[in-house]
Symmetry: C2
Subunit: 174 residues, 2 copies
DNA sequence: GCTAGCATGTAAACGGTTACATGATTAG
DNA sequence: CTAATCATGTAACCGTTTACATGCTAGC
């Protein structure tokens, strides 16, 4: 997901590491901070894989900046990641949100809709946090206050997301 | 979080690894599957730390079962984890939900309310996924359909969760 | 002169994923 | 007899966290 964010932001414009960190932080930093120890090695991996190019710009300020930009291979790779997300990127809300943040970089609206449809069918499959004797537990009868809250919030989220997905798929297909 | 789930479920009753896996799966397995390669080493860690005891029950069925139960130290440790969650367990919805699933095991309602209040103040701090010129971006004016969706869903979730938190804290304090 | 912000990196430890490996019991 | 389920584990790999490390520039 970190790699996807790097590729995604670089698709918009060339950036150096520090600025990239700020962008990623504004995307998901309030939930989970971005550490240098994750970011710089990830950049190095992408450079080694030929997906990202770097030009060192000395002087401007402080340590010499490495301005990063996507290569053609990088752009292709980003699109592939968006087009064919792994299961975990569909089921895990956190990861799916990261995907959504960059889904506009998939040029074909039909392919965008396809990704949304995968999320939709995941949400349509009835899932409940707790089971008692094999039966899903309803919010009202959950064993305690806290589990009631989990169910209530999860349900409200699912309702809103399903509504949005339906609208968005409609819009993309017209 | 895996360790918390193990301690949490064992607080309710002694279980063997396979049954533990089923419980954890029903909690969060639809979002992210639980792998044996994570579960069994986690159990071993907890046993080594003296938080979990195991009795091998041969014969019952298939491979010999190791029935796991919490030690006194394990119960104390679980309560400490619930009482003083790390920041990431408050800010990350996924982890906070895991916390919620076992918060009933904190005996003091005032301490339960304190945990909810931490989540509340995190949600009350204005956070926006995207910033343009330092200003948070509103859902309606987000750059594309997908980011609009992210903002819309995130907002609906926050609204519902805040409402529940307020009610729950009220209930716990009366 | 000092602190905050800019800017980049490395290394150890940790935890999780994936794949491999084994073997018993039960239902069809 | 054979597939599904029960039941437990190991090992290689991978990415993240945490801590450490460096040094410049701008404003107070």
């Amino acid at each position: 997901m970190l790699e996807l964010s790097i590729l995604g932001f670089l698709h918009e414009e060339p950036l150096h590491g520090y600025e990239l960190k700020a962008r990623i932080q504004s995307l998901s930093g309030h939930i989970r901070p971005v550490s240098d120890g994750a970011l710089y090695p990830a950049i190095t991996r992408l450079v080694k894989a030929g997906l990202v190019e770097q030009r060192t710009r000395p002087g401007s300020s402080a340590a010499p900046r490495r301005t990063l930009s996507l290569t053609a291979a990088g752009r292709a790779d980003l699109e592939a990641r968006l087009r064919h997300p792994k299961d975990a990127e569909i089921t895990d809300g956190q990861r799916f949100f990261t995907l959504l943040a960059f889904l506009r970089h998939l040029p074909d609206p039909a392919e965008q809709a396809e990704v949304l449809r995968r999320r939709q069918s995941f949400l349509d499959a009835p899932t409940s946090f707790f089971y008692r004797d094999g039966e899903p537990v309803r919010a009202e009868e959950a064993s305690d206050l806290f589990r009631q809250g989990m169910l209530r919030v999860a349900r409200a989220t699912a309702v809103e997301e399903k509504a949005w997905l339906a609208e968005a798929i409609e819009a993309l297909e017209s």
